[in-house]
Symmetry: C2
Subunit: 405 residues, 2 copies
């Protein structure tokens, strides 16, 4: 994996991330495909929306269909027919939000599946092994995500565990790459005798790098800025390919979240991609980019779509609202998505209030397009050094709330 | 509307139906879009599957969103963004299968909505008015559909009512066309004075014909062949644009249904399209074509798709079956649909057992493609005078039931 910052506008960065499954323009929003499916869409529909990378959940996929099956079927890309990049989380966040936990130990976490109660174990080594065997492009270090509201001492203790797990995640990733590279060399009859030693070393390093996913570390520390500073220094100092801010959007007020993000982002290594996990609304993306974030993911556009809440250039609307019943206009006249190009507000409301499956499909297409198009506009504005004015006009437009605009 | 039989092979007919929304190659299967949405698909996905005509339900659309709204929004084509032909049923069948009926009188039917119990009235005149105002290409006469198992005398009485309602439906359609033609002439400043009277008459007839939908009559008579003969003579003798066989697939055994179809089809006018309503399985379509049927509709491919039952060249399969869990092959290796081209049996099973919405989408795409592709093969085989051998090999292939074929 390679990352290059192409342009800057204030703290905002316009970059390019290169993976084995294509190049990703940043800042980027990654649609969430929990179970190797972005809910409501075929892989072809997702591809048509244009994202260069998507996210899948290690926790969900290890339960269903399981890593053995995924590996046997050629990895998660082949499983869902997706040829662009995939990032997986480590399972850490879902363990603390979904699973019934039996024991957190230094070694790892014993838990029971939220589906059928069957017992599982996750550790840095196991999480990395699963992510690597699923064949993803970017894996995340295994971390502990402390709940909002914990006291400083408890968060500090949790953070220290996350730091030890980060080092073990990194070692596990490197070991996996070396092991796969060795078996690949063996299959190919060993390294060529008589070659230039420095070229051989470079080739071996490249083989190791492509035999395992890129790995991002995760900064924790809750809302305690001294802990965030310490975590940024520790994680930022390790040999990760990128650094994420985790443990936000877990119930804290929005201003506390942005206090953490605005404080932490500048402490992260300049040359590595920065990923703000699980965030957020369109405003959050714009404000996150302003803080220097390069990557985002969130279930909000897809989950809200299924609930009939749609993001537009004039703010959020609930499509079930009676005022749309006879409205022949496109949902968002400024939007170029399939939904806005082909059907009316009246039709979208009709499908939603009558529980038609196509409502979820149309709504998901629109909301994801809205997010992806917002990121395109953000990237253009950074490249043309007009991000500040873009941000101002964006924030004022969405607060107008005018469906008749 | 125009219909021409292009080729014959035994009783099977290869024809062409011309409507204001395009030409339809027959024999044809019409996907069902109950509420102006073929369940699970966007209109674009439906279009990509290639059907030249679809069916909507008058009963459902009159309740939700209602004909006033549909007319105000430019008709059902515009409402759902569909530019090909639409046929609507008359509401007769749903009245007797879904609604809570208060009174059946000579005039029409008082009933309560199955949604909220609110009172409605349908009659031949009201049904035709609704269908015409929705702007559909082909409307169906309003009929009574007797339950399976009724005695001969009751079915005869019901059939006689259907015949009187057929005459009223036809009169209502003609009156609607004349009324619309007159207001259209008025808007355009009246008919041109001084023209050739026979040309003027032809122009007026054409204006009337395009101002209202084509109308098909419906033959009833239950499983009583003498009543079917009488009904075919009465309905076949009226000035309908096509004739349907109704009142089948209402619970009778398959051999009784085909006794009726095989008996009735040859009694219908040669020069008009013949439509077998609400039928059926792939085998039923092949056998219906063999009896001389030109048009079919059924919820089976779309409803079964949502239940995980998929039609293949080797018969029906239940995708949730554990034997598909690790199967990397396409669902049907002979199928060229998006689903079979892009994902595996293992992925389809994973989506279905985990309740992913995309399961319904992929399954619906496959099942509809299977039906539409079957009709393409049927049309080719009639044109090349090989329908008999096609039918034999089709019926033997689907009874093989071999998912490993």
């Amino acid at each position: 994996m390679k990352f290059a910052v192409l342009a800057r506008d204030g703290a905002a960065r316009r970059g390019e991330l290169t993976t084995a499954h294509g190049t990703i323009q940043t800042p980027v929003f990654m649609p969430v495909g929990t179970l190797a499916s972005v809910k409501s869409l075929t892989t072809e529909q997702l591809r048509a929306l244009g994202p260069e990378i998507m996210l899948c959940n290690t926790y969900h996929l290890m339960l269903r269909p399981g890593v053995d099956l995924l590996e046997q079927l050629g990895g998660v890309h082949r499983f869902m027919g997706w040829d662009r990049a995939i990032l997986t989380d480590s399972g850490g966040f879902q363990l603390f939000s979904l699973a019934s936990i039996r024991k957190i130990k230094e070694e790892g976490v014993e838990f029971r599946s939220h589906i059928d109660g069957s017992p599982y174990f996750l550790s840095p080594e196991r999480s990395i092994e699963i992510q690597a065997r699923m064949g993803v492009d970017i894996a995340m270090a295994f971390d502990e995500c402390p709940a909002y509201g914990l006291a400083h001492a408890e968060v500090a203790k949790s953070m220290a565990l996350t730091h030890r797990w980060a080092a073990r995640s990194l070692a596990a990733r490197n070991a996996f790459g070396e092991q796969r590279a060795a078996s690949s060399e063996q299959e190919n009859g060993g390294s060529h005798a008589g070659g230039d030693p420095s070229l051989l070393l470079a080739a071996r390093r490249s083989l190791i790098a492509t035999s395992a996913p890129a790995l991002f570390g995760i900064v924790q520390g809750g809302i305690h800025l001294d802990l965030r500073r310490e975590s940024a220094a520790v994680i930022g100092g390790m040999d990760f390919d990128g650094v994420a801010i985790g443990g936000v959007s877990v119930g804290e007020p929005k201003h506390e979240m942005f206090e953490v993000v605005n404080f932490t982002a500048p402490l992260l290594p300049e040359e590595k991609p920065r990923y703000l996990m699980g965030v957020g609304t369109p405003e959050d993306l714009v404000n996150g980019v302003a803080a220097g974030i390069d990557m985002f993911d969130c279930v909000m556009p897809t989950r809200n779509a299924r609930n009939g809440t749609l993001f537009t250039s004039f703010g959020k609307v609930s499509i079930k609202n009676a005022r749309f019943a006879a409205d022949p206009r496109p949902l968002d006249p400024r939007c170029q998505c399939l939904t806005c190009r082909t059907v009316s507000r009246a039709y979208l409301r009709h499908l939603f209030v009558n529980g038609e499956i196509a409502a979820s499909v149309y709504n998901t297409i629109h909301n994801l397009w809205h997010y992806l198009d917002l990121m395109r506009s953000i990237r253009q504005s950074i490249a043309s050094k007009s991000f500040g004015s873009f941000r101002d006009s964006f924030l004022s437009r969405i607060s107008s709330g005018d469906a008749d605009a």
